[in-house]
Symmetry: C2
Subunit: 470 residues, 2 copies
């Protein structure tokens, strides 16, 4: 009961129970009605309208799941857990949300969500501050790719799944390399630690990681398809990625202020500023995908080179919360005016980020809820798969923890290591490829999916605990 | 040249020309590269990434098109014209944007855009203020449905397309009934006139109009499929729509403050408030589609019953632009503090709307650009189709102008009449149905599409001109 009371912030257990009962009693009948109704459908655009309902439910449930903050967990964990609940409702006979996971539009919204998140995180940082941690990021990325690859291919593979082909072990090793930075980035943002050196090292390493993952993917595909790979092919894949990242800095950085000035000639309204900023992120996400990188890597790079000062020619309505506080003070008029001005100025700097943050409120929860929905509890029922997963999971964790220890002194090595643990989309892409090429059977595939799930679930609470200790 | 200078706000014609040349010379090669590149595609999620690029281009071009404001036109006209340019680029051999019009995800984003727009407009109004214009709206809607229907079925049909079946004329009449309120609502918002009585009458009439259109659609389908329709069937369609609208007011209104209080127990952050407000609109859009109404009607109803006061338990960061101005004043400290407080208070009331407005900046332009893209310039090449269209267009305009004259005194009847002119999705749904049922040949269909285009294009400039005269 104490737990429940903490959750709802009530002293009286009865009130908490009534609230919980209310939620349950309202939501369940509503869902079953909606299930039937959506099968009937309406006249105008009912398919689209069902997605409106899904989004509404995700947005509300994602916020309700922020209750986990009351027990000291980051909000993103709540969203993933809520996703797991929604995704496994078919086990209770509720199929309303089942089509959501395979819906193209929901996947688009989710992908846009994680692009906006990484763009926002990029905007909070800068090229200069990333360059400072460049060497450390590079070391962390390299060790974090090599160790899991070697452990997976030459140790975990032969021991945990004896009798499989060398290609199977190769795939296993590759799947364990690529970090999915979305979850770590979100945890750091939830706890307000996205500006620490650890955070920058992790995100820098994840970007480099993605470039390496890209090369590995190219190599593995070539080996499976043609039996070999030329250095020239590897070189081209790598060169495209490096040209994009270097080009983003060398061309994008001088271009941004020019664009700001140019478009402010056309219109100085907020709408134009908003359109420019968000388009900047989206174009970089697109360009990254052109060279084969993940769109989130591009969005992060776009955010990194964008500075609010480039858009100072635009109107700056400012968000002022602190004003209320100042109003209660008793300084002289001059001091008071100075304070107010300080507030408005600091807020006009932050204003560009606020736009992106508002959009994020809409899109980001969709990504994490959908991620959670892909966790199928059935996979945890088969003891053989669970044991195999646990073995691979240990290797996956060790590989990245070791990487954390490459950082120099003054850095919390555990935070960096744990921050690199989550695997996600890239791992799933590799696993799907291995499955469709026939080098991975259903059991190994399920085990790998469980490993990816576990890395996703374990990171938020552990990272939060580590960061609170400091 | 003066026109160009006005556009860019430069005295020097050369600068304007250079700017224009720059835009053209940057955009065209970029597009052709993007076209080729997108056909090649990247490794991760390249389909999704192309949509990121499309959105970025739409957002930027939509804002560039706001240049029409410099020549006294509402921004929405610019967006539609920009859409027409994009949609007809295939005529110049540029196919990059062609898949956009048929893309399911773009259609979803556009639909979400118009839902958010109508939700916002609903939020600006209230049930009480709509009730004041209820009788006038009902009269305008009724006349605006009956006159175009009768003129279309019994006059325009037999004269302009002799020898067709009675069902064809019936379809023609029906297509001319339903007002598409999105464009008018946006023009009124652009000009800052969405709170006038005329505006409320128009939007109220458009909602009632949609209910009537629904009944007509039911009746026509029944006549075509079964040759007849029973009063009971018509009654059920009508009853569902009325139950929804009355239910929204009777159940939704008392529910809103309860929801606000209930969810503020879980979390008082901005995120929760945002999620609640936006979900409210989305759920109403969904519910409307369940009873067969357009989602935008539901979103409008949802906005209407939502009041910022229901969410006062949440944090209220306030947007303060006026502060800068006050800071330059020279009142006493007390007067100054009072002013600042007035500003923060008025803004905290508006805050709920600001959220929705920010989302609107992202989604709304997509709707209007996509609407413009559906205008095919080829349709204007066939003189026979153009003449037929012009005849039907005159009937379509007269039918709604007459409706405007039903308003009592003190109302600008022309504004109401012109505001009811735009036809849109509903008309297109009817036309598509008629085509697929074989009661309309390709020429008639094209002519009707041209009519719908013309009503869309003519309304923004005429309405803007009428409202400026006052």
């Amino acid at each position: 009961m104490t737990f429940l009371n903490n959750l709802f912030g009530y002293r009286n257990a009865r009130v908490s129970l009534v609230l919980l009962t209310l939620i349950t009693s309202l939501v369940i009948p509503a869902l079953s009605y909606a299930t039937e109704a959506s099968q009937g459908g309406g006249e105008h655009g009912s398919n689209i309208a069902v997605i409106f309902l899904w989004i509404a439910i995700i947005l509300i449930l994602a916020k309700v799941s922020a209750l986990v903050e009351r027990v000291g967990q980051p909000a993103v964990l709540g969203e993933i857990l809520m996703g797991i609940c929604l995704g496994n409702l078919p086990l209770l006979g509720i199929y309303f949300f089942a089509p959501m996971v395979s819906n193209e539009i929901m996947h688009f919204l989710a992908e846009l969500g994680v692009v906006i998140l990484l763009f926002y995180i990029g905007m909070e940082s800068s090229v200069e501050s990333m360059a400072k941690v460049g060497v450390q990021s590079f070391l962390v990325a390299t060790v974090g790719v090599v160790v899991p690859f070697v452990l997976g291919t030459y140790v975990a593979g032969p021991i945990l799944m004896p009798g499989q082909s060398a290609n199977t072990y190769l795939f296993l090793g590759s799947i364990l390399t690529a970090t999915s930075v979305g979850i770590t980035a979100r945890v750091l943002k939830d706890i307000g630690k996205s500006q620490t050196s650890e955070s920058k090292i992790i995100i820098g390493a994840a970007v480099i990681d993605d470039v390496m993952g890209l090369v590995i993917l190219g190599v593995i595909s070539a080996i499976v398809f043609k039996g070999s790979v030329s250095m020239a092919e590897m070189g081209i894949i790598l060169a495209k990625a490096i040209v994009f990242l270097v080009g983003a800095v060398l061309i994008g950085m001088p271009l941004a202020p020019f664009l700001g000035k140019f478009f402010s000639k056309i219109h100085t309204g907020i709408g134009m500023k908003f359109a420019l900023v968000i388009s900047f992120g989206l174009v970089f996400a697109y360009l990254a995908s052109l060279v084969g990188l993940a769109p989130i890597v591009g969005a992060f790079a776009g955010g990194l080179i964008l500075k609010p000062v480039h858009f100072k020619a635009f109107e700056n309505p400012t968000i002022v919360d602190e004003i209320e506080e100042v109003v209660h003070g008793d300084e002289s008029r001059g001091a008071f005016v100075a304070k107010i001005r300080g507030i408005t100025e600091s807020h006009s700097e932050k204003h560009t980020e606020d736009f992106v943050d508002h959009l994020g409120h809409f899109f980001v929860p969709i990504f994490f809820v959908i991620t959670g929905m892909q966790v199928k509890l059935e996979a945890f029922m088969d003891i053989k798969i669970v044991l195999m997963s646990l073995g691979i999971f240990v290797v996956a964790v060790i590989g990245k923890i070791v990487a954390g220890f490459v950082c120099g002194k003054g850095i919390n090595k555990w935070v960096v290591g744990v921050g690199m643990i989550p695997r996600g989309e890239v791992g799933l892409i590799f696993a799907n490829m291995g499955k469709s090429l026939g080098v991975m059977d259903d059991n190994i595939f399920s085990a790998l999916v469980v490993v990816i799930m576990l890395t996703t679930l374990i990171t938020p609470p552990v990272l939060a605990a580590l960061l609170k200790d400091r």
